[in-house]
Symmetry: C2
Subunit: 232 residues, 2 copies
């Protein structure tokens, strides 16, 4: 049966199959602990045939990484309308789905390691952060972000990464709670700036126009309605 499948697969199909197998293996164990032999066995093909498609483990790891990066960028895929808090909550929910599926590989990559820490891997991680940042700006309907907004969004992305890494270490807290907590943290990271910067405040007011009174960003809406404190 496996041989039958193998013969029917074209080059692209086979590469896709190997990437899927690698994503699964690299997602559940540290990259260093996964061998080409295991990848070959999981794909039901010979070791030399793996090398026919990918020159080595590093190139297969990088292909899997790029696939994971595409998946991460896709977390933000949804209409740019409706309450922002609920959109962010859905994005966080998909993010934790991803972290749950690729946990070990995600942790190894973010913490750095012999294979994971290669320049190519760092470039992919940076690319994901940049993509997440651009997607967030698009959800906020902002083209040229002011420094305060840029800092708040980048800090928030870093916080989501850290929270997921800490969560993976024991999973002692329901992820749904952390997803909501991260949406609240977004409000905290933008709310103070809004009190000092009218541009930031009006960007947020526009983005939050549809926010329901009991939504996760309700406190931020309330804060934006109050007069700004005087910087001391």
């Amino acid at each position: 049966m496996r041989n039958g499948v193998r013969r029917r697969m074209g080059v692209e199909q086979r590469r896709e199959q190997l990437i899927a197998v690698a994503l699964d293996l690299f997602g559940h164990r540290r990259p260093d602990d996964v061998s080409i032999d295991e990848i070959a066995a999981a794909a039901g093909i010979s070791r030399p045939l793996v090398y026919h498609y990918f020159p080595g483990k590093q190139s297969l790891y990088e292909a899997a990484l790029r696939r994971a990066a595409e998946e991460l960028a896709g977390l933000f895929d949804e209409p740019r309308e409706g309450p922002l808090g609920e959109r962010l909550l859905r994005v966080m929910s998909r993010f934790f789905d991803f972290v749950e599926a690729h946990g070990t590989g995600f942790a190894a990559l973010m913490r750095g390691g012999p294979v994971a820490g290669s320049g190519q891997a760092c470039a992919v991680v940076d690319g994901v952060r940049r993509a997440a940042y651009e997607e967030m700006l698009s959800h906020l309907a902002v083209r040229s972000p002011a420094p305060r907004l840029e800092l708040a969004v980048r800090s928030w992305i870093a916080l989501a990464e850290t929270t997921a890494l800490l969560w993976l270490d024991g999973r002692r807290i329901p992820r749904e709670e952390l997803e909501l907590q991260l949406v609240h943290a977004f409000a905290a990271l933008t709310g103070v700036s809004a009190a000092y910067d009218e541009g930031m405040a009006s960007t947020l007011r526009r983005s939050l126009a549809e926010e329901p009174a009991d939504g996760p960003l309700a406190e931020l809406v309330h804060r934006l309605d109050r007069p700004a404190p005087q910087p001391s």
Copy 2:
């Protein structure tokens, strides 16, 4: 004059002087860009004499790092009483003082680099994070933190690091605003958990007993007074 000073310095004094010089140089440029010759010149002694006290740049860098780590752990030094929000705000203010003084070295260390990324340097950074965590627990008057509190405090420490790194990149936002923002973020990171976990809520209520109505944690106090939402 310099020779006169040199002759009068004891071994410990000289080591202290070299550490102070190194802290300053490593704080303002990337560790790789600082040479032993420069350290010797800045201290007004010969290159061989530097090697007499420290076997090489790496060991001097590590001594400077440990000194910086002590300084960071000292950020939390203040009475465990009075409004928590104001205490955290003072801690953040001292943290940004530190980041301002040692900016380049701090960034090089946190981003990792050939010298900075050594095992010894990583151990020092981990030690600082652990010390900051213990200090925060002490300020919250908690001995055995529940998982939610641990995650919230660790996430907050990571967020403070990230925010400072992003701030260093251009310093486009007044640091006072970021210090306040980080105190609000602490409220966001603990507040959601408190809604789901009565233990966390009572820890926070106790810690926030002296919080003034217009303080940076007032919103958190308000949130803790409301009935908890039902997890969906």
